[in-house]
């Protein structure tokens, strides 16, 4: 006599049409004499009927369009992806070279023979010269400004003269602009009267 579990497995197989004819006969005989297995048979058959009676559900009407848009998005990403990877790789490589190359040149002393190359040597000299003149120009400007400031602050008469000159200049500019605008408005007034 087999265990109930084995008969239950046979019930499951029978529902799927996977049980041999002889085994099915044995199962039916057992069910007739076993209330427990008969109950399991009834319940599994009921489940079977319940699942088999289920209708299909309708897919959403825009599923096709959604899938095609999704696929198109994927194709787009795939088109750009190699370019993106290549760009990131090149940028990373250049950044690494930018750091590694000067370090290598300095640490291995490679700059020494480079200095002997005429073009490199001349370029470096020109750059150094340019920096020298720039610095000289900046120094001269700073010194001149400083001297002027010292001169003006140590001589009150000169400072008063300079300030007076600034005030007179601004008065002169103001008066000149005022006359110009008055003359302009007067000429516009005459023109409009003539046209009327």
């Amino acid at each position: 006599m087999m265990a109930h579990d084995t008969y239950n497995l046979m019930i499951s197989l029978a529902l799927d049409g996977q049980l041999a004819e002889e085994d099915e006969k044995e199962l039916r005989q057992h069910i007739q004499g076993c209330g427990l297995c008969a109950n399991t048979w009834d319940q599994m058959t009921m489940l079977d009927a319940m699942f088999n009676s289920q209708a299909e559900v309708n897919p959403p009407p825009d599923l096709l369009a959604g899938v095609m848009a999704y696929v198109e998005g994927y194709k787009m990403r795939r088109r750009w992806y190699p370019w993106l990877v290549a760009s990131v790789s090149i940028i990373s490589l250049l950044a690494a070279l930018n750091i590694a190359a000067p370090l290598l040149v300095l640490s291995l002393g490679l700059y020494k023979p480079m200095l002997e190359w005429p073009t490199v040597s001349a370029s470096l000299n020109a750059i150094a010269q340019a920096f020298y003149w720039l610095q000289a120009g900046a120094d001269f400007s700073a010194n001149t400004l400083r001297d002027w400031f010292v001169f003006l602050t140590t001589d009150p008469l000169m400072l008063a003269s300079a300030l007076s000159a600034l005030v007179l200049a601004s008065i002169w500019i103001g008066l000149r602009e005022g006359f110009k605008s008055t003359a302009l408005s007067l000429s516009e007034g005459v023109t409009s009267q003539q046209s009327v």
Binding site: D16, M50, L63, Y70, Y74
Partner: protein, 192 residues
Amino acid sequence: MNDQELVVLVLEGDQQAFAELVEQYQRSVYNLTYRMLGNAREAEDAAQEAFLRAYQHLKRYDPERPFKTWLLSIASNYCIDRLRKRRLTWLSIDEPLPAHPALTSNAPDPEDATLKSERQVAVQALLAELAPDYRAAVILRYWYDMSYADIAEMLDTTESAIKSRLFRARQMLVKQLNSGGAPGMILAMESA
């Protein structure tokens, strides 16, 4: 034009051919994802993902096999993965509950639609009790009438494993029914 010919065209870059395949199988794929995941929004997402995966791996498709079986195997395995991940995800309490199918149904007779949807809710509630592997086996067996061999191939396992999964699934479902089960279960069983 048969599926294999359409696949060849897709591999040659014909987008329209893929649209034809989608149109032909969207119903099957959507039904599978709906049964597996239990709600329409997720089912739609999963169906889209399954079709995209099919498109991505079309070169691996073996023309000796039916295209539908291959496609459904992608969809079912994706749903199994998704259900496994879902277990690890915290559900947001702000997320609105899905509408009852009767409320969103387009059927002309509301009473009939309600009965049908009650049955559907009951069946979905029963399926939800099963582990993803078991659920896939039950769905492929009942809704797609597939043989043990086909299901085993689709889920990348053996026939005896499928035999065992279907048996265990039925045992669990019967137990669920005996314990009172999901809402609407009695109605569903009576009307089945």
